[in-house]
Symmetry: C2
Subunit: 218 residues, 2 copies
Amino acid sequence: MAQAPSSRWQRKKDARPSEILDAALALFVEKGFSATKMEDIARAAGVTKGTPYLYFQNKEDIFKAMVLHHLSSRLGAFVELEQQHQGPVGELLQILLLKWWDEVGATPAAGLCKLAIAEATNFPELAQFYTNEVISPCLSMVEHILRRGMDSGEFRPLPIASSCDALLAPLVMAMTWAHSFAKVVPETCGYSHHHSREHLSEALQLVLQGLKNPCYEN
Amino acid sequence: MAQAPSSRWQRKKDARPSEILDAALALFVEKGFSATKMEDIARAAGVTKGTPYLYFQNKEDIFKAMVLHHLSSRLGAFVELEQQHQGPVGELLQILLLKWWDEVGATPAAGLCKLAIAEATNFPELAQFYTNEVISPCLSMVEHILRRGMDSGEFRPLPIASSCDALLAPLVMAMTWAHSFAKVVPETCGYSHHHSREHLSEALQLVLQGLKNPCYEN
DNA sequence: CCGATTAATGAACTGTGATTTATTAATTGC
DNA sequence: GCAATTAATAAATCACAGTTCATTAATCGG
């Protein structure tokens, strides 16, 4: 709206890279790496075929840069929150996982989760990077919280690794689903709720509180 | 071993299709649809470029046939088991989900799960099919079991959809993980256990029994 | 055993998509 | 304003991978 409408030409050296990476994110998540054409990325970014090559070596380079660009930022605020929290760690888990949902899961960046899963075997280095940058820190934090809960008596003695799984699986699934089946299969099978915050919150609560009625006699 | 070693020629009209589909499964799961070359499928199936086209229209047709071939069979035995079971449905869930792991999750067919997630937006019809054939039946069954548990008092009142999520997410994650990160990131971050039956069993147990110590006072 | 049939081959065809590059036009500094 | 610089274009290149098809060789019926 603000620019000269006549010129299809726009010189924006600074803005281009992130525009291209944003376009790439959307397309890679939607179509996958190989099925996404360079020209589509270019067009989605409002430029032509050649332009991405001014900023990136090649398609794979764009892929890598994209993962870095959309990931490296967000990790850190969470660790701080964890250390400051007082009181029941059940609440803390609820808060942290839902914060993650709000700030990552509900944004386009959540598509990276599906993408990483889909392309892990094609890009081992990236899978390793994703593991180091995201998975490991998350697991460490959840582990630490579980220990806190066990120490305080809030939780019963737990197998750590499996408990992390049970806690994180619904979140990861929700992010993954939102960018695969949810896009395509509309109202079917209850999984349409998968993307909703409340649904995720309920699932977490369940894992935390347990399914079994404590008053039930085995 | 048993065939004439001299001839690189083998006429096997009957065996070819499923050989090709098996090869396609392995490659599609490993590389994804677009990144998998027809010639690779052919070679993996022990034939040459042209042969797959004798049995299938094109690459997409192979993809569809593969999903059908590796799926349509297994559904049914589970429903029967569910209807016959007497006693605590907690046990029943444990049995059914681990049976699913043994018969699907631990076989190459589990890769279909990752593949379906990765390609859902590229093949909406297949996503729909997968939903109808696998997801919906599974959810219905788990739903029904949860209701049985609530009716008998074994479970407390539960939000059905979220409970299904919490129960199935670890299983789905385990299958997905086994064919993505687990293939690539070796021992890191505890997720290496993801593919093991015991680990899954523990996670299920946790969801069933709950994380919170019933004796803990809030 | 011989001809007819057809499974299988692999070379050739073709379209597509990644990458290169000569050209065009903003921009920047003097 | 004007030359130098460089962002951006768009046409051309090039390799690759999906598909076709003429040829080859098992197999099957008699």
